[in-house]
Symmetry: C2
Subunit: 878 residues, 2 copies
């Protein structure tokens, strides 16, 4: 096993062995750029170290020593030398960029002897001593885990003793004293003397890097980013060059293109007579790259050449760190540069135009999750604000407005021209009119798939949910976070992208997706095989969906049509005491639904629209039973209230999620479904007469058996026949009828259901709830966080489809469904339709389309292209 590679031995393909940084250093060395020599200790050495209970593997030190000797030879310097010592930097470098690990130890090799050599070599004793004390301080803190404050405190005391205000005023003698003090601090706090042997320094630094791989912060980051624990980190040991050796030296960071806009011009910062950390730390004001041309014309020219070389070589925008030591340019590291979503799109598109990459590559360059930035307003990047609390980033976008605590109030204030942030403990379908009126929604309870979150995402309204620090007092109309109290009407700002809640207003910018966005998504459409539809309940939503490229509606929920001003109608239906009363009410409801459908079918003309018949339990349309009980106890109920109270009580369920809803309702109240179906046909008829082309798929929710689904399908067919007869054949409209697969049993008996269903739509929200036995309303607020923390689940299954469990059911249903009906249409309409990893699964399992909220449509289009291109592993189209 070879554990150590000289830079000249590796290449950029060896990322997993040498880490990202090491592989790039090797690559640059290979293509002849001026990289200070060095070597990389492999990630395999790190794993060997971890697996043996923190013991460096046999042979590693011997290999490293031998590379050190070679390094000394190539640099013509010696570690610890008293006249011209070799100094090195030690840096961690994992296969993926990873905060939380030990970063950098500079100037390793300095000791009581070589400090004199450095002084001699630079002719600057003060510089050498300052470097030495900095090295001791950094080494003690990072490698030996000594409290950094001890050193800061010692410097302070010395300044006081010497009566100086700043560190630069400390002279060589003072610094000599400081070095001695620092060594004492180390001896007293590290359990060892500060090591004078440069090879011991190096060994300890290597071990410190390896240990930081298993540090708490690194672990948390890996869990968050789903990086496997067994990748390990590499260690890079590189000869030091100094940008602070005088006015002929300098340092900088530069991108080959503008990382904010994507414009094809180098973009960077430069500082003369400084070390790299000074640029990053922002202590001194940096100068733009152009300024460098005046001071270091030759190096500047050289640098531009390097940038060109790197970009051509990497076929991507790169960033580099460089140092000029006494007029000579060195490249210290490079990597593919981070960029904004806007820049990513422009760079990809322009590189394609430049012939550097093809369209496939251009599409793969865009991270679907990043697109959200482009579709929603955000807190302006340069705005200053202090965060009151952070909740869950439930629906992206930012909003500023006045706080109101009830849906009614939100609505009336909105109508009065105010911009409103609706603040609720949680929301229910009753609050919908207020949610529509609000610019933003803030709740103290509920998770990422709570009612508030799902509805807000569906509408594209920014929402922060589950902000548990909020104590809402609905009677007082205030909320409190710690000592801060916000009253009704006060202004707050929320960012559903970050989860931040801010008192007062924050400047908000709305990015414009622009032509690059359209072009790249157009290319994505060429590659993807998976259709993308939107979940949309209203004509307006349908229009937004179309604008974002939806190819139809995969889920049109009809219950939303019964809310707001129409709530009284469905309540009247529930309370109906005679069939005549029921029929009368249904007629009114049907008329309203017909109008809704006409609007949607018009917006989606020529595209398929999946209409789901009524799904939620009826009691969702009735007032809260506890509230009624309390009002009853207070004697506040009138006769009508009492009637509602009785109805609410008789419809009350222990577990409404598993109660009388979906097709069960359709069986108990066949006229309800028949009315809805009738309204659909009437709307289709109206559209057809107007020259439109409605393509409707009628969806039965929550079925569990063939006979049950057959019962509902028969009703649909009967209404269709009746309607066709009434309209004398003119109304003989084409439609599909199918079902949602959202109970585990539906998936298990999908082969039978396919005899009745012309399409399946996987309702993976409910399917996940029932497969896990997780009520999403309950578990996200309680144990989900702990489960993810303890890694008892790979991911929150409501965010990313659980391939191991729920996925088995989906796969089974796809197979059995196709067995029975080879041309069955298959789609998904759960929240997962907008999650890239889940879209990949849907592609691999062979669905025809995914459907997601309108604002996630672009993301799904791109993710579908990635899936087709095998971006997430071998593509399977089974």
């Amino acid at each position: 096993m070879k554990y150590v590679y000289a830079f000249s031995e590796g290449s950029k393909e060896q990322k997993f062995l040498l880490g990202g940084k090491g592989a790039n250093l090797a690559e640059m060395t290979k293509i002849g750029l001026a990289v200070p020599s060095g070597f990389t200790i492999t990630t395999e050495a790190c794993n060997a170290y971890s697996n043996s209970g923190n013991k460096l593997p046999d042979g590693l030190l011997k290999e490293a020593t031998s590379e050190l000797r070679a390094l000394e030879k190539s640099m013509g310097k010696k570690l610890g030398d008293s006249s011209d010592p070799l100094l090195v930097s030690v840096r961690s470098g994992a296969p993926f960029s990873m905060p939380g690990m030990m970063d950098t130890v500079l100037n390793l090799g300095l000791n009581d002897v070589s400090v004199a050599g450095l002084a001699k070599q630079t002719g600057n004793e003060r510089f050498a001593l300052d470097s030495y004390r900095r090295f001791i301080q950094m080494f003690a803190k990072i490698v030996l885990d000594v409290d950094g404050d001890l050193f800061e405190h010692a410097i302070e005391q010395l300044r006081t003793a010497k009566s100086v205000a700043t560190d630069p005023e400390l002279d060589s003698d003072a610094l000599k004293e400081l070095v001695a003090t620092f060594k004492t601090i180390v001896a007293a706090n590290a359990g060892m003397e500060f090591p004078q042997d440069p090879e011991e320094q190096l060994r300890l630094a290597i071990e410190a890097v390896f240990q930081s791989w298993n540090g708490e912060r690194a672990k948390i980051y890996r869990r968050m980013e789903k990086i496997p624990d067994d990748l390990g980190t590499a260690v890079n040991v590189q000869s030091m060059v100094f940008g602070n050796k005088g006015e002929d030296s300098g340092t900088g960071v530069v991108f080959t293109r503008d990382p904010a806009t994507g414009e094809n011009v180098p973009y960077g910062d430069f500082l003369a007579n400084a070390q790299g950390e000074d640029v990053v730390a922002g202590i001194r004001t940096t100068e733009p790259l152009a300024a460098m041309a005046g001071v270091f014309p030759e190096c500047h020219e050289q640098l531009l050449g390097v940038l060109e070389t790197l970009e051509q070589h990497y076929r991507d925008m790169c960033d580099i760190e460089f140092t000029i030591e006494q007029g000579k340019l060195f490249i210290l590291q490079t990597r593919v540069g981070k960029r904004s979503a806007l820049a990513a799109l422009r760079i990809a598109r322009e590189m394609e135009a430049e012939g550097m990459i093809d369209r496939r590559e251009a599409v793969l360059r865009i991270d679907p999750a990043q697109l959200d930035q482009l579709l929603h307003p955000q807190f302006a990047p340069d705005s200053n604000y202090s965060v009151l609390t952070v909740g869950l980033n439930a629906s992206p976008g930012a909003a500023t407005g006045q706080v109101y605590f009830t849906a009614d109030e939100a609505e009336s204030r909105h109508e009065a021209g105010e911009t409103v942030i609706l603040v609720r403990p949680e929301t229910s379908p009753d609050d919908l009119h207020g949610m529509i009126a609000a610019e933003g929604i803030l709740t103290s309870r509920g998770g990422l798939v709570s009612h508030a979150a799902v509805v807000a995402r569906g509408m594209g309204t920014p929402a922060v949910c589950g902000a548990s620090a909020l104590q809402i007092d609905l009677e007082e109309k205030t909320f409190r976070v710690g000592e801060t109290v916000i009253k009704e009407g006060e202004v707050i700002s929320i960012s559903g992208t970050t989860g931040e809640v801010v008192v007062g207003s924050v400047a908000v910018t709305t990015p414009e997706p622009g032509e690059h966005f359209e072009t790249i998504l157009g290319w994505a459409d060429e590659f993807r095989t998976l259709g993308v539809r939107a979940n949309a309940d209203l004509g307006h939503d349908a229009e937004v969906a179309i604008r974002f490229g939806a190819e139809g509606i995969g889920l049109c929920r009809t219950e939303h049509m019964f809310l707001g001003t129409r709530l009284h109608l469905i309540q009247r239906f529930i309370l109906a005491e005679s069939e005549a009363d029921e029929v009368e009410t249904l007629k009114e409801l049907g008329d309203l639904q017909r109008k809704d459908f006409v609007e949607i079918f018009a917006a989606m003309d020529g595209l398929p629209v999946t209409v789901r018949l009524l799904d939620p339990p009826l009691h969702e349309f009735l007032p809260d039973i506890e509230e009624l009980a309390v009002r009853d106890a207070r004697g506040e109920l009138d006769a009508a209230d009492h009637k509602l109270y009785r109805a609410a009580r008789s419809h009350h369920e222990e577990n409404p999620m598993l109660g009388t809803r979906g097709v069960r309702l359709g069986v108990l109240k066949p006229n309800l479904y028949r009315t809805q179906v009738r309204a659909i046909f009437e709307a289709m008829f109206e559209r057809t007469l107007a020259g439109g082309n409605p393509r409707v798929e009628i969806m039965i929710p929550l079925s569990v058996s063939k006979a049950e689904l057959g019962f509902a399908v028969d009703q649909v067919r009967e209404v269709a026949e009746e309607f066709a007869a009434e309209t004398q054949g003119v109304g003989d409209l084409h439609y599909l009828v199918g079902t949602m697969i959202e109970t585990p049993r539906a998936a298990l008996v999908a082969g039978e259901l396919a005899h009745q269903a012309e399409f399946f739509s996987f309702g993976t929200n409910d399917l996940t709830q029932m497969t896990f036995g997780f009520s999403r309303d309950d578990v996200e607020g309680s144990f989900m966080a702990r489960y993810l923390e303890l890694k008892l689940l790979d991911a929150n299954p409501f965010e990313t489809l659980d391939v191991g469990g729920v996925g088995q059911l989906v796969r089974l249903a796809v197979e059995k469904g196709r067995e029975t009906r080879p041309n069955i249409k298959l789609g998904i309409c759960g929240e997962h339709g907008g999650d890239p990893a889940s879209v990949d699964f849907c592609h691999s399992v062979g669905l025809d389309y995914v459907s997601c909220s309108p604002f996630r449509v672009p993301l799904a289009r791109l993710a579908a292209a990635h899936a087709a291109l095998g971006a997430n592993g071998p593509a399977t189209t089974a």
Copy 2:
């Protein structure tokens, strides 16, 4: 296709073609018994009739006519003849005995001509006229669907006109008048004249039988008994013989053995000069069979011979109908006789001893479902009572007692020596102490798997649930059914076997299972391969289970140990404000649990006991939130109540079934599970020191992933190691640790779970809830009845395991579990463990054992034997 078979052509094996009655008539004809000649029209003819929209199939009438001619020839009589007419009976006869169908038309062939022939032949004009008017009446009512009251009314009028009190006083002239009136009634109400042509009479009668197969009552019965609709019914046409031709004639019904006790003596009723219907109708007092020996010694002797022949031939107890016509014995029909459970056991056992059947046959002769009769008190068969209302037969047995409406009241009245019937709208865990104190439980809400039903069955307490006619007024302490009001303290009786509710007391008998029961179940044990355990939470339950032959405990629920007087402890745990407080409370709970476990392990010494760690959500241990809200509104809460209220609110869940319960609780509150596990080990240790042999299986409920289960299993192992260390190895006790498979995901990833679990126990109640998305508390009270009525489900999946859906998951988990861990122990502990059809499935899928409530153990043992013997189709031991 041959549609008509003479009796001499068939045999008893042709039950499906000829119906049960027809096949037995053929069999008796074949073995030479004196059966009046006749023929059978096949079930295939019935199906052909139904499938062609009620049209008799081609050729049927021709075949029937030809058989009629043969019949005339063999009897030497002619249909419609004016001197010695042939008369026939027409009876339906399906493959399975089935009420609700057209039963019998006697004397078919009588008309205006043949009535004279009958008079001539019998020398009794009045008899002939009376037979004729009875035939018209019966034919019109049954075949032509004329209202029977019209005829009764006409008779009444005639009696008045003739000034006589009884029918026998009507003379021939009066009867002639009556015949004329009856024919007028028919003409006016049947849309046709009374048919004079005997062949038309026969055709109409055959069609009436076929139509009755699809009558509403027959359909409901078939659905209830799960008899397929396409079996069809046969029609038997048989020459009439008359038991009412004078004192040398008679009729009777006789069993080859006593159907009530099983004693091996013929048992029957006899009536001289009477027709069969007189025996059944109970108008005249019948005489015991022995009395016949004096009057008809020869026929009696002959009859005993027939009984002997039939029993030897059928190798089973038979019943027969016989008629003596003018000194000659005829056997009209036979079938295997119905018998009580007690008789079934005795007959099977004695026939085995007599060498008539083997043990296998003896075991198969007992219907497992029938055993329930023997294990619970019943309303005495001869008692007279009127039923107030009928609810669901939720837990078998009968009880009489005083009505109380709260658990506390029930408990204190019980302690005061009263026998109590607890009446509640529904029950919750809070009511447990009252349920334990009650002799019987009656609820107005909740289905067969409601809390009340499940707990009552578990305790063996009679319960009637979901008696929806009950209007309970908890404040007034009364319940009302219609006009009847029952106050607290009044006596009622309930039968959980039938669902009946009766005002006042009803005599109750408790059958004694006896030695036949023990013997047959012993034989069953020899055949079965499936183990049978009991679900038992307390030492007392464990003892009952042992008595009924349980081979261990498959489910010991630890939550019941936290109720009643211990409720305040678990509440204190929930409300604990410091860890010290929590630890303190857990110590007390642990001590109590240890004592419970010692009791159970002692009762089950040497047998496995599966202990399930705490499963229900914590809020089940807190008061009802709505009640608290109301009391709060009334200002009735003190500080302690407010604390409880806050806790109840913070633990409140939308769908508690899918919330924070089972192992989720164990993850959030690890000390709770550790305390329980510790108590288990302490109890094992105590039992071992006392010379016992505790065999414990620790069960983690509701797991969904390997990591989650591993987390819980690790806790168990850690506590075990700690305990072993403390007791210096003496406490190194052997135990298994496993999990319930009750979420669909657990079944899907069973292969992974088996790495952690040494056993699986299928919790099919919850698995059914989640697979269907049915909350049992909600759906049984709402749509389940309608679903079963419309046949949208084959059966209530909470009663009989849903092989098509839930069964797939069970099968999958069994396969995957065994793949990972070939010797994994597999059992089931849902309610289904006591359902014969479900036991059969468990056998076929290869489980090691079923576990059910103690009172169902005998039933499960027998059902397991039936399964092993392939009683329900081909046995598979995969």
